[in-house]
């Protein structure tokens, strides 16, 4: 019927509109068609669940019975009456504050070493990148258990010097540090980015500086670091977000418990426990949204302060 209407319409602006639509159909539609799989994925698997989880965060939902409206209960409990929420928040913040700067410093150090034009650079680069490929895997987390257990490699090494070490991964004073060390060990991807950044710095600046008698140390602080700040900024943002999201190592090493004494109870691990251990999907959704807000806040803060310390070369 609509086809007849179009056919019988007088040749006027209507027609132009139709041909306009046709042009869009012919020119743009194939593009959107190719994007369709991504759209389906984004709306069906990302945006849809996100909206639903936002709805759930205002409900009590145990998977077996229908969600019950809870208003702000979940958020109220989180901020007023949940010692595990604050405990897990402390653990995650501690992890972020220590693992990110240490990891970046380590990555930059290795990048500087590799940037001196040594032989076999590509091999070293690959070797140093290797832990990042393995890092989040279950196998490495299990290996970490072996290395830092009471009768693990670390203590066997220490016993050579007559030191009797504790069981690092299961002692509440050290367990989080073993996870920070694991995170630093995966310095590969920021290192590669630093290395690329170092290559961008014009060599003539260093030549000019050495002619003026600047020491290597001074050159690093006055040339390398300032010119590298955009890369540092990028790496810091990415690694901070990664650190907030960190889940697998703590999950595997503590067997999903966050123990001993909740010392490795990462925020994401607590969220997982609430959702799939105790079936409080509503509360877990609320936790997820608070984490999102927190990461967004951190990132926004970084961007706002960046103009004071990041130097773009323009």
């Amino acid at each position: 019927m609509s086809i007849q209407n179009v056919a019988s319409a007088p040749p006027s602006a209507e027609v132009e509109k139709v041909s306009g639509w046709r042009r869009i159909w012919q020119q743009d539609a194939p593009g959107y068609l190719f994007l369709l799989p991504w759209f389906i994925g984004f709306f069906g698997l990302t945006l849809g669940p996100m909206i639903y989880s936002f709805y759930l965060s205002f409900n009590h939902f145990d998977l077996l019975t229908a969600p019950r409206w809870a208003g702000l209960d979940n958020y109220m409990r989180m901020f007023t009456n949940d010692p595990k929420f604050s405990a897990s928040m402390r653990v995650t913040l501690f992890f972020v504050v220590f693992s990110v700067p240490l990891k970046l410093a380590f990555a930059l150090g290795v990048a500087l070493l590799l940037n001196r034009g040594m032989k076999g650079l590509t091999i070293y680069r690959s070797l140093f990148y290797l832990p990042s490929l393995l890092g989040a895997s279950v196998a490495i987390a299990i290996l970490w258990r072996q290395i830092f257990a009471g009768d693990g490699l670390v203590n066997k090494f220490l016993s050579i010097f007559g030191i009797v070490g504790p069981s690092w991964i299961s002692n509440p004073n050290y367990s989080l540090w073993t996870l920070i060390v694991l995170s630093i060990w995966q310095f590969g991807s920021p290192m590669i980015i630093f290395l690329a950044g170092l290559r961008q710095i014009p060599q003539d600046m260093y030549e000019a500086a050495s002619l003026d008698g600047a020491s290597k140390w001074r050159q690093f602080w006055k040339i390398t670091l300032p010119l590298l700040t955009p890369v540092v900024f990028f790496n810091a943002i990415i690694q901070t977000i990664e650190a907030f999201k960190s889940f697998t190592p703590a999950f595997i090493i503590s067997g999903g418990t966050g123990n001993p004494i909740n010392s490795t109870l990462f925020y994401t691990l607590y969220l997982y426990q609430e959702a799939f251990g105790f079936f409080r999907m509503g509360y877990a959704s609320a936790l997820a949204w608070v984490l999102l807000a927190l990461v967004a806040l951190f990132t926004a803060f970084s961007f706002l302060t960046s103009k004071y310390w990041v130097h773009y070369d323009d």
Binding site: G255, G256, P260, G277
Partner: protein, 430 residues
């Protein structure tokens, strides 16, 4: 209100069903049903289970698609499938969760099949009772078991300490533990693991005192004083070096491989009678089992024969009758019994027990004998634990046990704290 179906609708409906049949989708009334089964356990249990599903298929033509997961992964998966209206026809169920699932109709009452597809006339009465919720039968016990202390017999020989018997007490645990530690075998092996945050052991200790972990109303069945006493007792043993150190004990995160018995740091471990089979595959030394220690000589009643696990029928299953037939086959078919052995506990039908007993090797006989000869250790079956019991165990008892273990809290402080936190968790859950 009546439904009237016109001739045309009837024709359309039936031809749609026919078409579905052709397309391989079995209509409800089809002869051969395709059942889905989900259970927790390891490869050994899976091999035995699939042996029986194959037999069942050969016998009845009903095919069963099985799936198995580890305990920790099982419950999220089952809950997710149930929420999605996609629960399997037959689900393995635990005493801890059966009330929860029954109350929400996630599993179906089986009373209509009793006497028909399910023949339970000789079924052990206490095991039948264990599968009931609100007077209706929701789960068929797959075997009886009891808590038991697993014992590494070779380590005891090396230490020159005599293995205790079912008559042993907590005092004996201390004196023998001291002698064991003094022998200093295998790089400082202890006689007992740190069981201060072992829920079944605390439960057993309370029952001997005439108390219980949880009341039938789902409230805490003991007070702060008992918790202080319990934690102080373990602290005494810890400080005297009789039990495993707290940082070694914290390496135990649940899986069998991480336990102190398997890692060789302790020669004894509180566990369940049916788990001897699984532990023996991981420990090279010969294992044996005795009861949990008594609070004083001659005091019993801490143990009980509990259903180790159930099979239940999914609430939304379209094949409940066929599922019930499978359950009956699983507990009573002689060939199935030989395949299953006592891996899920001691069979609850006398006829099945008689078939299984002669086929068992020495290790499996141990469990059978232990559960059949509990004597005065045996007490009544406690009511099913409240829904929040799992959370109290994994997130409160464990944490407090570790806090006292590492010296972050005194027992005097931890007792009242435990009671107030546990009460809060129980209240929140209702």
């Amino acid at each position: 209100m009546t439904f009237r179906i016109g001739r045309r609708q009837f024709l359309m409906g039936t031809s749609a069903l026919m078409a579905a049949g052709v397309a391989g989708i079995s209509p409800v009334f089809a002869q051969a049903a395709n059942l889905r089964l989900i259970f927790w356990g390891g490869q050994a249990r899976a091999d035995r289970t699939y042996g029986v599903t194959d037999l069942f298929e050969a016998d009845t033509g009903n095919k069963i698609d099985g799936e198995f997961l580890a305990w920790n992964d099982y419950w999220p998966k089952l809950a997710t499938q149930t929420a999605g209206g996609n629960a399997p026809d037959i689900v393995q169920m635990d005493y801890r969760y059966i009330v929860e699932y029954a109350k929400r109709n996630a599993i179906a009452p089986l009373d209509e099949f009793v006497g028909g597809a399910l023949k339970l006339d000789d079924f052990d009465a206490d095991q039948l009772e264990g599968g009931k919720v609100g007077g209706k039968l929701y789960g068929i016990s797959l075997g009886a078991n009891s808590v038991a202390t697993l014992v590494n017999t070779v380590a005891f020989q090396e230490a020159g300490v005599e293995i205790p018997t079912n008559a042993w007490t907590y005092d004996e645990l201390m004196t023998k533990g001291e002698a064991f530690a003094k022998a200093n075998i295998r790089n400082g092996m202890k006689m007992m693991m740190d069981a201060s945050y072992s829920e079944p052991m605390l439960d057993n200790w309370l029952r001997q005192k005439g108390l219980k972990l949880y009341t039938a109303e789902g409230k805490l069945g003991f007070g702060a004083d008992e918790m202080v006493e319990w934690l102080t007792m373990w602290k005494t043993m810890r400080d005297a070096g009789i039990i495993v150190s707290p940082d070694n004990q914290a390496l135990d995160t649940g899986p069998l491989e991480t336990t102190m018995l398997v890692s060789g740091k302790a020669a004894m471990m509180p566990s369940n009678s049916n788990q001897l089979v699984a532990f023996q595959t991981l420990v090279p030394d010969k294992l044996d089992m005795i009861g949990y220690p008594r609070i004083a000589a001659g005091v019993g009643g801490g143990h009980y024969r509990k259903p180790s696990m159930f099979f239940s029928v999914g609430g939304s299953s379209a094949n409940k009758e066929a599922a019930a037939e499978f359950l009956n086959f699983f507990i009573s078919n002689p060939e199935a019994a030989k395949i299953l052995g006592v891996e899920r506990g001691i069979p609850c039908l006398p006829a099945t027990r008689d078939i299984v007993a002669p086929t068992l090797d020495e290790q499996n006989q141990i469990a059978l004998n232990f559960v059949s000869n509990l004597g005065d250790l045996l007490g009544p079956l406690p009511p099913p634990p409240p829904a929040a019991a799992g959370e109290i165990d994994s997130s409160l008892l464990r944490t407090i046990g570790q806090e006292v273990g590492f010296g972050a809290r005194t027992p005097e402080d931890a007792g009242p704290y435990f009671v107030s936190e546990a009460t809060a968790i129980l209240e929140r859950a209702t």
